[in-house]
Every structure is written in C-alpha cells, then in structure tokens.
C-alpha cells in the first residue's frame, strides 16, 4: 500500500495539523474539549491525514494509474462465448 515507510508516520504529522485546525475552528471558549475529545478529533484526523501523506507516495499514484486502465464495467464474457 505504501512505497515509503515514512508515509503512515507523515500521516500522523498531517493528522496533528488537521486535528489542531479543526479543534481551533469548532471549539468554543465556554466548552473546551476534554483530553478524550481531543484524542477523538486527532484519531479521526488521521484518516484524511493519511490520504494527504499518500499523495506523495508513488504506490497510491501507481494504483490509480493501473486501475484507470481497466474498464470494470465492461460486459463479462460467458463460457458460451456470447
């Protein structure tokens, strides 16, 4: 899934940035996030963070290029030949 070993770790860096940005955007001063709630935001931010990290990973690009060559909706050939 990854060419570089750094990709999942880079995802953590992006997740931290996304998590910080989102909590900064949504949290209100009268209702600060608890540690558990912040952890939930950071954990969920890992999903798009990993995606951003995968953008610089050749494996993701290669997979997309290979799949684009295939027509997954082409009619399937039957044993009868028709």
């Amino acid at each position: 899934m990854f060419t570089y070993r750094r990709t999942p770790y880079l995802g953590l860096v992006y997740a931290a940035a996304i998590g910080y940005a989102v909590t900064w955007l949504v949290a209100t001063p009268d209702r600060p996030l608890t540690l558990v709630q912040q952890a939930i935001f950071y954990a969920l931010s890992y999903l798009p963070g990993l995606g951003l990290a995968m953008l610089s990973d050749p494996a993701s690009h290669r997979a997309k290029t290979e799949y684009l060559k295939v027509d997954f909706y082409a009619p399937k050939k039957t044993a009868g030949g028709d």
């Binding site: 969920l44 798009p48 995606g51």
Partner: protein, 169 residues
C-alpha cells in the same frame, strides 16, 4: 465514495433544521428519527441501482447511470413533495450531496441524462467496480479516497461537538 457516505449522511441529518429552514418548509430536528431515516434512505438511494445488477436484470453499466442524475434527484423530490415538503427538501439535498461525494470517481456521473450522455468527474480516484471486496480494497489504495472520506468523519465529529452529542456531550 464508499464508507464516507455513512458519515456524510450523518452530517446532512445534523443540518436538517438549517436545510428545512432555508427552504421555508416545516422544521425537522437534527438527528431526529425522521431526519435520519429520510436522509439515509435518500442518500443511499442512488446506490440501490446495484440491486437490479445483482439480480441480473441490468448490466454493470447500469451503475452510476440514471440513479445519479439531476432528473432523478428532482423526481424523488417531486414525488415526496405532496406527502411531506420537508422530506422532499431533505431527500433532494441528500441526493445532490451524494452526487458531489461521488464526483471524484473516475466512473463519472451522467448528471444531465437523458438530455446529455456527458459524464462529469474530477478524476480524483479510479473507480474499480460497484461492489465487492476488490472494489473496496482497491478504492482505499488511493490517496484521495482517504482525504475525502476521512474529512467526512472529521466533519461528523465536529457536528457531534456542536450539537453536544456523545462523546462530545
């Protein structure tokens, strides 16, 4: 988009009061049984085109065809309107956002069918089929699916915080 539809539908249902108020129809509460049922059903409705394919009533190309058109969204809205205007508005918005969520797929959406066969796509990820383990696995080998679908889950968490829903209550 695959699993991300789940989070997106949840996020749409959280905006039910704002959507119904903006349309000037009776208010529907956020995450009420009514809003959840209407939004989830409408949001997943376009993907029910897999059912006739599985039953061999249609070919694979039927996926992302007539069920992913503006005419279909308008039709569902118009059918629901006489029964419940709020449901019609919520269903229409849910369907439009389903199309937006799918716009990154290389399969393209024929939004203007039957007037035009042109398919609209942002080509963010390659489509690898309508169902099955391979389609799921290969979709998540691609970067933009993680970015877009992950963002939907972050949005859903933000809405949980804003609406004081567990675990943000």
């Amino acid at each position: 988009m695959q699993v991300g539809h789940l989070a997106l539908a949840g996020a749409i249902a959280s905006f039910a009061p704002e959507i119904t108020a903006a349309a000037g129809v009776p208010r529907v509460e956020a995450w009420s049984a009514e809003s959840l049922a209407v939004v989830f059903l409408a949001h997943y409705l376009p993907n029910f085109d897999v059912i006739p394919i599985k039953l061999k009533w249609a070919t694979d190309r039927f996926h992302c065809s007539y069920s992913h058109t503006l005419l279909f969204a308008a039709g569902v809205g118009l059918v629901l309107w006489p029964f419940n205007a709020s449901w019609a508005v919520l269903a229409f918005v849910s369907l439009l956002l389903h199309f937006v969520a799918d716009s990154g797929s290389s399969v393209g959406l024929p939004l203007l069918l039957p007037f035009s066969r042109r398919r609209f796509s942002l080509y963010l990820w390659a489509d690898t089929g309508h169902s099955g383990w391979f389609a799921l696995r290969s979709t998540y080998q691609q970067a933009w699916t993680w970015v877009t679908e992950g963002a939907m889950f972050v949005l859903l968490a933000a809405r949980c915080y804003q609406l004081r829903v567990w675990p943000f209550s």
